[in-house]
Symmetry: C3
Subunit: 142 residues, 3 copies
């Protein structure tokens, strides 16, 4: 039987770019959903967050933060700033370039990821944010 399961998680994140591993939380939702094979779709709510996968180890996390800051530096001049004065013009640009959504396959009841591959959410905002991530799982039930 096909089954659809909707859920969400809320993740505390620090000043951007902050990169948080959400694989354990996603894995727990997959188990709860009771899906054998299918896919998990995740989208971060808000225009200064993004989702991707990385090897979640301190070196890669640091390297990715630097690369993100090169894409849109907090020190550059932003039109958004001229209108809103909230100091996060770079956050909006970074998040748009990385994108808010991701699809992760579910196989044999678990997320199918590489040995060193984890799903992360990135807060690009210039202040700590509580990030909500909406999750839609579709698949055959166990």
């Amino acid at each position: 039987m096909m089954k659809l399961h909707c859920d969400n998680i809320e993740i505390a994140t620090g000043i951007g770019p902050d990169i948080v591993n959400i694989t354990p939380q996603l894995g727990a939702i997959v188990r709860q959903a009771g899906v054998l094979n299918g896919s998990l779709q995740a989208t971060v709510i808000g225009s200064t967050g993004s989702l991707t996968t990385i090897e979640f180890e301190p070196g890669v996390v640091e390297d990715l933060k630097k690369a993100i800051s090169r894409l849109a530096s907090p020190d550059a001049v932003y039109e958004h700033e001229k209108a809103w004065h909230d100091g996060n013009g770079h956050s909006h640009v970074q998040a748009a370039l990385l994108g808010p959504s991701i699809v992760v396959p579910i196989r044999s009841g678990s997320l199918a990821l590489g040995t060193w591959q984890q799903v992360v959410t990135i807060n690009h905002d210039n202040r700590p944010r509580r990030r909500r991530i909406e999750i839609t799982i579709i698949g055959h039930d166990l």
Copy 2:
């Protein structure tokens, strides 16, 4: 009951990078689909277009255009140009880096987005284009 609904929209876009808010059109399709909870998957057809989310206000739009042009400048030298002479080598590179597809959750019959978050399509081509975006909605019906 689970339901699947396929549709598409066509959007007029200007010379790239041009960023167009398609949230109203997507919202109308969600209402028409009659889905309570599930997800909307959207993909732009063509190799010089992309999809993402932003806060759609003039400042961010301008900032994102500049960042996209830094990723692949129209003034750089492109191998694509040497073979095809259509002046859009940068368009292909920009679109590939941003990606053609996005997933947006549907909750309580509406797109789940942040207060300031809109779905946009970006035309990266060096001429105005009519962009077709294919939409697949899966969810439980109302």
Copy 3:
């Protein structure tokens, strides 16, 4: 009737950035799935691979490789390198920025793509890799 079909492909890729057209393989799986309208979700397994669409011609392939190397140069200094000494710090950063997943619509029994648009997997690693791509198809059957 709605139908869900899971499958995977394995693709030999060269030293990164290497860009391989996987559209024929995806098309074959769509035909096998027997789905009329719906979508194909694909995710590359591993933290140094990515998926996107391009016009797969030698010029664009070359231009995209250059742009990817600008995002994170193999010649830069990486924290990942200091800990692991495997020379692929840039690979992790590039893959995270491009993203591991994509959604392609299925219409009238075939992938809906632009005339010049193909789905590609990119190996960002600094050695040849066999890449597994997991595919989930959901749609109405033929």
